[in-house]
């Protein structure tokens, strides 16, 4: 059955006439229902996160950043304090979920802050970091991979060794080491100065540990493209290396980078959450799903939602990104190997 469906789809593309490979791939992606559902979920998460200040100020009337140890809320007609003495006799237990959007929907964290509002703010940072790290990672990986694969020789040697070195470390170990060092001192190289608390640090760290994951396949593709006759035809017409890279190589590499992109966003989100959970990622006062998850750790038996809610957000977002990545793979580059290394 598979063969007959593929024949029909190939004939329709021929009949439709001049449709660029990009457009036909996009059309294919749009027809993929699972991918479109995943995209819908991602858009929903992104919009909800972007609306975090609107929710915090207009709906819940809270400021989710400063500690709110003395705070009280109106609940069921009476005033309840946000942090109550623990029933065990020491420490405090924050109020649990009210399931009421207008006040402490998911309850409070150990410092009395609104978990749901923090979740929305955390989503902003989590998405920002994973998305921008994926952009940086894919851009650098594409440049390095194309340069190494196309020019070969010494350039390729250097690029490959850089990939090998980064690849040789376990991702999390490398990321944790870099974070521990950079978060204490900040980054000071030549005239680049990044403060220890800056969001740029986790972005750069996460981007750099994943570069080989994209760079290696790109290099491999460019090396096979290099032997194709249309490259020789371009050389034979007197084209410069720069022109060949831009006009002949890049259009053939772009689909692969496109396919890797959603996957890298998912990887980055998991790495960012892990680092933040361990305290070596995003630093207070910024919140991410990883740090919120950590906040709830001590309350796991009494107020499990503080940790579970960000966990669910991470799982759903990453699952959606993976489904979208698979759809993109099927549409843009069916031969690409996304998992199991390259």
């Amino acid at each position: 059955m598979t063969s007959s469906t593929s024949t029909t789809s190939s004939t329709t593309t021929t009949v439709r006439g001049s449709e660029s490979p990009w457009r036909s791939s996009l059309r294919q992606l749009r027809r993929n229902r699972a991918s479109m559902a995943a995209l819908g979920l991602l858009v929903f998460v992104a919009v909800a996160s972007l609306l975090a200040p609107v929710y915090a100020h207009l709906v819940a009337h809270v400021n989710p950043f400063p500690a709110n140890v003395q705070g009280t809320i109106r609940l069921g007609g009476k005033t309840v304090s946000v942090l109550q003495p623990s029933s065990v006799g020491f420490g405090v237990t924050p109020i649990g979920p009210t399931w009421n959007f207008s006040t402490y929907f998911l309850g409070a964290d150990p410092q009395g802050r609104d978990v749901f509002a923090r979740l929305l703010y955390g989503g902003r940072i989590s998405l920002l970091i994973s998305f921008s790290a994926a952009v940086i990672c894919c851009v650098i990986a594409a440049i390095l991979g194309m340069a190494g694969g196309y020019f070969g020789g010494a350039i390729d040697w250097v690029v490959s060794r850089v990939f090998d070195i980064v690849w040789a470390f376990p991702v999390y170990l490398l990321a944790i080491c870099l974070s521990v060092i950079l978060l204490t001192s900040g980054l000071n190289i030549a005239f680049v100065h990044i403060a220890p608390g800056s969001l740029l640090l986790p972005i750069l760290i996460i981007a750099s540990v994943y570069i080989p994951y994209v760079g290696r396949p790109v290099r491999g593709i460019v090396m096979t493209l290099r032997e194709r006759e249309f490259i020789q035809a371009a050389v034979g017409s007197g084209a410069s290396d720069w022109r060949i890279l831009r006009k002949e190589i890049w259009p053939n590499v772009a689909p692969t980078v496109m396919v890797f992109f959603p996957m890298m966003v998912a990887f980055n989100m998991l790495t960012e959450s892990a680092l933040s959970f361990l305290g070596v990622g995003v630093q207070p006062p910024n919140a991410t799903w990883g740090t919120i998850s950590n906040d709830g750790l001590q309350l796991l038996y009494t107020r499990p939602w503080v940790s579970i809610a960000p966990g669910i957000c991470i799982v759903l977002t990453c699952a959606a990104l993976n489904v979208l990545g698979d759809g993109a793979r099927d549409a843009f580059d069916p031969k690409a190997k996304l998992r199991g290394g390259a």
Binding site: T14, E229, V235, G236, S237
Partner: protein
């Protein structure tokens, strides 16, 4: 055809480093081993030989897509070998290559109009309107509808793609077109169309062709002169009809005997000669004549000394210690 030499190759050698049997060991495979040939303005020079004999490598060396290991290539008296890519640019438009595989030679992600316009843009042919007009003109020249310029290569058949490849090569009015097995990937019916197109273009545009193929029938049909290659060496070179009627090299004889013939009595009936063994590994060339391990007439001289390509009659070159028609009766000995 004139006697003016358009391109002269002298002792062209191209060798590659290949991985040897043992880990880390390297061997040198000589794909083209000392080929000297003149291409005359306006002629079609056919080059035939088995796959792996170095035809395509020779073609790429001649148009400077591959640097030669030694030897020289002159184009209209200018030595091209040793020039940098930048220095070669002014000569690129004079010699263009048509590729064997019409699927690999067109970038699948660019429109065919872009592909044909590329050499024009690179060499600053004119304004973009002039280039557009030229592209449409080229499409008409090769028998394609100019309204196809916005389409992508996957929408065309093999024959149409090869026409696009030819259009690309003609854009800058080259004087030499090197066609590397331009029809071997095509159906027989389409082969004829493309060959006729190439013949028409030659008349119209005064082109010189170097036509590479492994199909002797095709080569005879299109060529004025034919060269036979074996293991990177030119073993025989002669006018097409002369070569086909009276092969002098035992390898040429064996190749010709493999061409299917019509039993209508118009052609000399040839005894079928089946060569034993395979083409030797170019990394381990036999001593002496490269063909001697498979040659029925080989003598001790052949096993020790590599015969040079000599002009034994006017326009008739052969590299053999015992050229056939001179020492044997054609084919009879092997019967």
């Amino acid at each position: 055809m004139s006697d003016e030499v358009l391109l002269r190759a002298t002792d062209v050698v191209k060798s590659f480093q290949v991985r040897g049997g043992k880990v880390g060991s390297k061997k040198t495979a000589t794909a083209v081993n000392g080929v000297s040939v003149d291409i005359l303005r306006g002629e079609t020079l056919g080059i035939v030989g088995e796959s792996g004999c170095g035809k395509s490598t020779l073609a790429r060396c001649l148009v400077q897509l591959l640097p030669v290991t030694s030897g020289s290539v002159e184009f209209r008296g200018t030595t091209l070998t040793g020039l940098s890519r930048r220095q070669l640019r002014p000569f690129r438009h004079e010699m263009q290559l048509v590729f064997q595989d019409p699927y690999a030679s067109l970038n699948p992600r660019r429109t065919v109009g872009d592909i044909v316009a590329d050499p024009l843009r690179i060499n600053r042919f004119g304004t973009s309107a002039q280039i557009d007009a030229r592209v449409r003109e080229l499409f008409v020249t090769v028998g394609l509808d100019p309204s196809y310029v916005q389409r992508y290569p996957h929408e065309f058949s093999g024959g149409q793609r090869q026409r696009i490849g030819i259009a690309r090569s003609l854009g800058l009015n080259p004087s030499l077109v090197v066609a590397d097995e331009p029809v071997s990937a095509l159906d027989v019916s389409v082969q004829a169309q493309v060959l006729n197109l190439m013949a028409d273009l030659q008349d119209e545009l005064k082109l010189t062709y170097l036509f590479i193929a492994h199909d002797l029938g095709v080569v005879r049909h299109v060529s004025d002169r034919v060269g036979v290659m074996y293991l990177g060496q030119l073993v025989e070179l002669a006018d097409a009809d002369v070569l086909y009627d009276e092969p002098l090299h035992p390898y040429t004889e064996a190749l010709l005997s493999a061409v299917p013939q019509l039993n209508d009595g118009t052609e000399v009936e040839r005894e079928r000669i089946v060569l034993s063994g395979d083409v030797p590994d170019p990394a381990e060339r036999p001593l002496g004549c490269p063909f001697h391990p498979r040659c029925a007439y080989a003598t001790d001289e052949c096993r020790s000394e590599d015969p040079a390509l000599v002009e034994i009659r006017p326009r008739r070159f052969v590299a053999c210690h015992h050229p056939l028609a001179l020492t044997h009766n054609i084919g009879k000995d092997t019967a």
